[in-house]
Symmetry: C2
Subunit: 352 residues, 2 copies
Amino acid sequence: MMQVKGIRSISPYVPGEQPNFSDMIKINTNENAYPPSPAVLDTLKHFDGKSLSRYSSISNQKLKEALAKKYHLQSNQFVIGNGSDEILAFCMLAFFNSKEPILFPDITYGFYKVWADLFHIPYQEVPLKQDFRINFEDYNRFNGGILIPNPNAPTGIYEESPTIETLLKNNSDSVVIIDEAYIDFGGVSVIPLIEKYPNLVVVHTFSKSRSLAGLRIGYAISNPNLIQVLESIKSSFNPYSVDTLSEELSVSAVESQTYYLEINQKIQHTRELFAHKLNQLGFVVLPSKTNFVLTTHPKADMQALFEFLNEQHVFVRFFPTNKRLEQFFRISIGTDQEMLRVTQILEQFLAK
Amino acid sequence: MMQVKGIRSISPYVPGEQPNFSDMIKINTNENAYPPSPAVLDTLKHFDGKSLSRYSSISNQKLKEALAKKYHLQSNQFVIGNGSDEILAFCMLAFFNSKEPILFPDITYGFYKVWADLFHIPYQEVPLKQDFRINFEDYNRFNGGILIPNPNAPTGIYEESPTIETLLKNNSDSVVIIDEAYIDFGGVSVIPLIEKYPNLVVVHTFSKSRSLAGLRIGYAISNPNLIQVLESIKSSFNPYSVDTLSEELSVSAVESQTYYLEINQKIQHTRELFAHKLNQLGFVVLPSKTNFVLTTHPKADMQALFEFLNEQHVFVRFFPTNKRLEQFFRISIGTDQEMLRVTQILEQFLAK
């Protein structure tokens, strides 16, 4: 193909599409149904653009302190990155350097595998159980590290803290990363376990519950030792990856707890209503503690339904190339009005 | 140290300090002396923060089209990243995968070595000549790729296009990356050579000439084949690394050509005045086509001068750990008033 040497060939992650219609219902990438907090919008309005000629902060101390205050931790227990994607990539480079394979579920965030390939990290995908739950017993084997999303995506299924604690105990010589991207939609974070387990790293994002997917902020929480390794990796890759505007606005988001609690409870309420309605229509819905549901209809042609939805500018995530998921939709929870409209369209299709 | 396995140990890049005094003259990280263009500030003022709940663009098509128009190229000849640091890291992952060592100057941007270490890429540092110029003849050897900044940093020395063209010809089976971070301060870009040499990748940043260091935008320009490999790496690492605000503001920056031409010519004018004055004071100044100068005074105690400047809140870059540079300062070009003040302080020190 190329006459020059050294060119890498790799299969990248394929994210959800980014359609752009004024009348669309975009529920395919788990964005928050509501805007960022008024305080965030206010900070943006008063931001002095002239300061952008200067480099952004490397330490992100201001955001770390806001987070430390919120979680009752120290600022040296946080590292900030350009979305949790960057943080997870840094974790792979920082913690998964042994020769044993790392472990993660076979049905999970599709990016884990891509990073492992990119960095030549050996891995094993551990099959989910028949009911789509994580099979924690299967993680009691020789491994170079463990990566578990809780709640898992795209299943939406949440595991309680004691289950994670057993995993940490059984794998005390490996770093265990718990990716809590969706934890604020009904789950309880394992952050309190950080003091007890020196092998635990928790990863969070501002893209879901903080309604700031367009701003690119994520962070890891751990003990200062592991955080320092992550900081070294960040400083060896792209030390300024968090821009000045993003850090300022994120601080305001952390300080808007009441607002975010409210909108995220509203999303959970809408999720319950929507799941209930789906059940009534004959859909099977996996139990979700996220801002999406994984669902299928035993009697419907899901491919035809997907196309029917698209025609009406309703965009859900469909996984036609994944054997166990090929009949499922992952539907993000929008506003009540949006989900009502979606329900109507589903009813319309099923009535045909 | 740690009881958990797989932990990476690495020496990160050490950037210039980020002091913060209201009266300081910060000329240690080559930031632009002037604010972003009025159009950029205006775009910021009118940006709808509510849109931040949605993911940023993966394709960055809007910015690519603005750049394509400016450089008379196609949009598929660009890849956009979170600063040229991220772009350069992607280049290392994308193009430097052969077993031969990659080559770059021994005195250059300190990050090249850090990325090579991070990604386990073998490398050789090619010594600069006695006069601090790049010794291009030394690059005619077996290699897995070449990385040359033009102008070079921290020397500031620029090499003309025919020199780069010979390098490209002599290394047609390796990817040659020309890092043009400082090209807009008096040099001429080798972008026109892209059509002719399929092994050429040019890297630019918005941090220097576009006065947007705090916004984190960089890009690579090449043929569509190599750009597609870079896009695959980006999509395998962090596909959304350019946030929505950064892309919008950068488009306005690209469209503000007249403003940026003016401020960057002003910086070159100030550089000439400042270098002239330094010469008068007995300093040796390397010929610069950047927004900084590398300089030393044969009779001054540079360590003492560095401390004297710091006491007066003037921050320049000093390289006390680098043998050939240990007597040198890299001084960014600020405004005329700032450089006048710096000159006065230098005079004060030398008069002692």
